[in-house]
């Protein structure tokens, strides 16, 4: 009996052992494993994003370009759909079963990716996006019947007018790439894709707010978590004042209507872009709303490439508009004075090389050479620069030339604040070697002297050249904004004055010649505007794609210039014919008072009554 009494110790032992096992296990769950706490919090909290309203875009005078209107996203928790009345919700959403299943599967995949990305427990995904307010009211009323679905408000863009499509750009659902790069975004968010919308996305998007609510395991909301301790309010993005002048922009779009080409106008003493016109273009409101994808596909397929931002992506041989640059470099290099004369007998000849020229008096000086756009003169100047004995070889001479051109912002990206800009081309030594073999001489590349050959510029770069000459030797990186927010804040990069390698004192002689372009005897005298001192240079650029491009760069007024401009009209012939009058009318429009009539009604008549041949097939589509 006593022996059996001792068996109580077995019980004591069992109790102690079990207690110990429990404590060790619970200690490891509660104290050692920190993940459980986080998981519990994640489980019970549902974060509802509050989207801020996106910054509004105005023109430089405060005219409305882009603003916001509400749209709604239908969000689904794919894991909470047990016992869902599928037929009911299909009817509510007005979609058939097949479409519903397809979208649900997509949402499931999206939620899974999100889960993996955030290492979270359960997440939702967008089921339908950008529903207009009419659908919202209909769906919201009945949505309580379908657990696992809820509506989230977002804003979409609306357009004050249909101008400056390429400059303001459009917004769209964030891409996988953006999602991967910036944790701010989640699936289904809208973000700027092009133009100012993209360039200033970080400002315009504002700051998302979060409302954290408790949820049970059926994802049903159970009120605010901890009295709103975790909530943050959404901060609207600041408004942005674009640098464009809406009236000038619209006038430019009118002038270029039916043609193919580009106009870039810059305020020389700030670098602000006053107008950025591309034709063909598109109506910005095609790219909002539930049908944006359909329209986008149509625009992509359009032969006229309406989405193509020629002003910063199109490259053209500058032709004769390049001559002022050669002249300026010649002056700086001391191989050219205003009085330097060269003869021209219908062209430039050297051995069996001939660069043709049109008939004109000979010999001529610098100003005359610009006014009548003599090719031979610039072949001489070009060779004087790069064959200068102070350089050991033509290679060194060209290298020097290249650095001059780079200082004008040519051959490199300018750093404009809207995405997609290209660098154009200023041929490097390597490039020339590849093209002509190692043994090229100045005569081999002589066509570069007149802006032909391997040189390619964007309209933006051409306009910037005009701005540099207007400023007598400096420029600000061209940019599309006048300022951000009420303080009109501007990023530092656009406040830095870039000097070119040509000193101010050499500019006046070139400007003299550019002024002569606009007087009788000059190439563009027929595009002159009475009582306006315009300096300009025409260009007719040969290209392998057909008829010559009509080019013009210029600025006005001559003293204290307010506007510098470049106009490219593709395959339209002489620069003087189309590009020059478009440019001068633009300059007049910008400089004159608003309701003052134009002093050149004959030019207006010519341009507005004789629209380009493309007028019919580039009619803006009605959505």
């Amino acid at each position: 009996m006593n022996l059996l009494k001792n068996r109580r110790f077995t019980f004591y032992f069992m109790f102690s052992l079990l207690g110990l096992i429990f404590l060790v296990r619970i200690f490891s769950l509660q104290v050692l494993d920190e993940g459980n706490y986080k998981k519990a919090v994640n489980n019970a909290l549902k974060k509802i994003t509050i989207y801020p309203s996106r910054g509004i875009i105005y023109d430089r005078h405060g005219n409305l370009l882009v603003y916001n209107g509400p749209v709604y996203d239908l969000i689904v928790f794919p894991g909470a759909l047990k016992g869902l009345d599928t037929a009911g919700i299909c009817a509510l959403l007005r979609m058939d079963r097949k479409e519903f299943d397809k979208r649900l599967e997509q949402a499931r995949v999206k939620a899974k990716t999100q889960r993996r990305r955030d290492n979270s427990f359960n997440r939702s995904a967008t089921f339908l996006s950008n529903l207009p307010i009419a659908d919202y009211t209909r769906i919201q009323e009945n949505l309580y019947r379908y657990k696992g679905f809820y509506l989230e408000q977002k804003t979409d863009r609306l357009y004050g007018n249909q101008a400056a499509a390429h400059l303001v750009g459009y917004i769209g659902e964030v891409t996988e790439k953006m999602l991967a790069r910036d944790p701010y975004y989640k699936n289904g968010d809208l973000a700027g894709i092009t133009g100012i919308e993209r360039g200033y996305e970080k400002y315009l998007r504002g700051k998302k707010g979060v409302r954290t609510v408790l949820q049970d395991r059926f994802y049903t909301e159970k009120g605010s978590a901890e009295g709103g301790k975790f909530d943050s309010i959404a901060m609207a993005g600041p408004d942005i004042f674009s640098s464009i002048d809406l009236s000038l922009q619209q006038f430019g779009e009118q002038l270029l209507h039916g043609r193919i080409g580009s106009i870039v106008a810059i305020e020389p003493n700030t670098g602000e872009i006053l107008a950025l016109v591309n034709k063909p273009d598109y109506r910005p409101d095609l790219l909002i709303g539930p049908n944006r994808n359909k329209h986008f596909q149509e625009l992509i397929r359009d032969q006229g490439k309406p989405l193509y931002n020629r002003a910063i992506r199109g490259v053209y041989p500058p032709g004769s508009t390049f001559k002022p640059v050669i002249a300026l470099i010649g002056r700086q290099e001391q191989v050219l004075t205003p009085a330097t004369t060269h003869g021209c007998a219908g062209g430039y000849r050297m051995g069996n090389l001939t660069v043709g020229c049109h008939p004109h008096g000979s010999p001529i000086n610098l100003a005359q050479s610009l006014a009548i756009s003599c090719n031979a003169y610039y072949c001489e100047v070009f060779r004087d620069i790069i064959d200068n004995p102070k350089y050991n070889s033509v290679r060194d001479g060209w290298t020097k030339m290249e650095s001059y051109l780079n200082s004008f912002g040519l051959g490199t990206k300018m750093g404009i604040d809207i995405p997609g800009e290209v660098a154009g081309n200023i041929p490097s030594l390597a490039y020339l070697d590849k093209r002509h073999g190692k043994k090229w001489r100045s005569s081999t590349i002589i066509s570069l002297a007149i802006g032909q050959g391997e040189i390619l510029l964007t309209p933006l770069q051409m306009a910037n050249v005009a701005a540099i000459i207007a400023n007598r030797g400096y420029f600000y990186t061209p940019h599309a904004i006048h300022g951000i927010g009420p303080e009109k804040f501007k990023p530092e990069a656009f406040l830095v004055r870039h000097r070119v390698m040509v000193d101010t004192l050499y500019f006046e002689s070139v400007i003299e010649g550019m002024a002569d372009v606009m007087v009788p005897g000059g190439t563009a005298w027929n595009a002159a505007i009475p009582s306006l001192t315009i300096c300009g240079k025409t260009g007719t650029s040969q290209n392998p794609h057909g008829e010559d491009h009509s080019l013009f760069i210029g600025f006005a007024p001559r003293n204290n210039p307010k506007i510098a401009i470049a106009v490219v009209v593709e395959n339209a012939g002489y620069g003087a014919t189309w590009a020059a009058p478009i440019a001068t009318l633009m300059m007049e429009h910008f400089l004159k008072a608003e309701h003052e009539p134009s002093k050149a009604p004959h030019l207006l008549k010519k341009l507005l009554i004789m629209p380009g041949q493309n007028a019919n097939n580039t009619q803006p589509k009605n959505p």
Binding site: L23, I26, Q30, V31, A40, G79, F218
Partner: protein, 428 residues
């Protein structure tokens, strides 16, 4: 003798420590039931919390039971031991015929909106019967007849409860083996039970991985047996025992394998495989266990505070106010709270062993050990399942879980024993 009578009337006291620990557990249980069933409501209001209100009614009932037991004659339980047993066994049978099915188990009587689970009371009846049998003068836990009757006393209700499909409650009857152990069941029987448990787990693991039982159990077993046969080469008896053990083990393995493949339900197989880490199913069957572990783990050192446990009050943990009440304790009171709670619980167990050993009658001692063993078994399985040490088996945490039947049955068990303990003085 008048003096003893006086002594009895002067100190009719139930063991104060046990009553105190019991009271602590019940009220702590109520707090956690209240919190777990608040459904995200804040503030303390019984009007909105019907579960807690019900529990309060059960607690009142339990208090009445305590008064009833306290004022009853302790001999009453000994006299009516078999009667109670008979009644509860009959009730268990009756529930098979007219019972209500709750989550797969037909173990409830439903009347007037209240459910009664006779299997909870069967533990009480069985304890009384076993105590009475082993307490009968001259009966010792020896001889095939007595052993057979002892086993039959608890295996009969166990079979009936198993038939009710209430596997958890049926398993509880195994705890009577511990009582028998205290009363003289040889220690090797317990060792054998542990050995069989190891074999069972091993077999299931092998089956789940589709490995050969012959290679992994029979061959190594035979190898070890050969060594022992060599060591015991001088004793025929031990050589026979060795061979017998190997054969028995192998036979058991085959039984487990058959049971596992052909007898168990899918959900039972799932639960076993999840606990053995053989299967991962976070959204399905494994969801409950994962959420339960997250809930307890979320408590950290000091817990998230009363009514602040989102895991439990937002319904992520299943059966949160009944079988998984320990999750709420873990989540809201933290490791410190759990430590205190387990101290109270194990304190009660130690105290009860002390009381049981000081009993002067076999009846009281056997009954006491029955109470201890049943509580121990429940504690082991219930907390073990919430922290992922044993498969999910739906049995309540005594005194703490929500539910009238279990609270009343355990109150009855404990206070009957305390009443017997009080009587002990009259024999001293």
């Amino acid at each position: 003798m008048p003096t003893t009578r006086n002594q009895k009337t002067l100190s009719p006291k139930l063991d104060f420590t046990s009553v105190l620990l019991f009271t602590l557990l019940v009220f702590f249980g109520f707090l956690n039931i209240y919190s777990a069933s608040s459904g995200g409501q804040s503030g303390f209001s019984l009007q909105v919390n019907q579960v807690a209100t019900k529990q309060l009614i059960w607690m009142t009932g339990a208090f009445l039971l305590i008064i009833l037991v306290t004022f009853s004659n302790p001999n009453f339980f000994e006299f009516t031991g078999y009667l109670f047993y008979g009644i509860t066994v009959l009730l268990c049978l009756a529930v098979l015929l007219v019972g209500r099915e709750v989550s797969g188990a037909k173990s409830w009587f439903g009347f007037a909106g209240i459910g009664i689970q006779p299997s909870e009371f069967a533990k009480f009846g069985t304890s009384l019967a076993l105590a009475k049998f082993l307490g009968t003068y001259g009966v010792r836990f020896k001889g095939w007849k007595n052993i057979g009757i002892s086993l039959a006393i608890f295996l009969l209700p166990m079979a009936i409860v198993l038939k009710q499909n209430d596997t958890g409650s049926a398993l509880v009857f195994f705890s009577f083996f511990l009582v028998l152990y205290r009363e003289g069941l040889p220690g090797y029987v317990l060792l054998a039970a542990i050995w069989l448990m190891i074999l069972a787990v091993l077999s299931i693991v092998l089956l789940a991985y589709q490995l050969s039982l012959i290679y992994w159990i029979l061959v190594p077993l035979s190898g070890i047996a050969l060594v022992f046969l060599y060591l015991f080469r001088k004793s025929r008896f031990w050589m026979a025992v060795t061979v017998g053990l190997v054969l028995a083990s192998w036979g058991f393995t085959k039984i487990v394998s058959f049971t596992y493949k052909n007898v168990l339900y899918d959900y039972q197989r799932d639960r076993i495989e999840i606990i053995l880490n053989l299967k991962k199913d976070d959204k399905g069957v494994g969801f409950n266990l994962i959420q339960s572990k997250i809930a307890i783990g979320a408590g950290r050192w000091t817990g998230r505070g009363f009514m602040e446990g989102t895991q439990t009050k937002m319904g992520f943990v299943p059966e949160q106010h009944t079988d998984f009440i320990f999750c709420t304790i873990g989540e809201e009171w933290g490791f410190i709270g759990v430590l205190l709670f387990l101290s109270v619980y194990f304190g009660l167990l130690f105290r009860l062993v002390l009381l049981a050993e000081r009993q002067t009658t076999n009846f009281a001692r056997v009954f006491g050990y029955s109470v201890i063993s049943i509580l121990f078994f429940h504690l082991c399985i219930n907390i073990g399942m919430t922290i992922g040490l044993v498969p999910i088996i739906g049995i309540p945490l005594p005194f703490v879980s929500f539910g009238g039947s279990s609270l009343w049955a355990f109150t009855l068990l404990l206070f009957t024993f305390l009443k017997l303990d009080e009587r002990r003085l009259s024999y001293a």
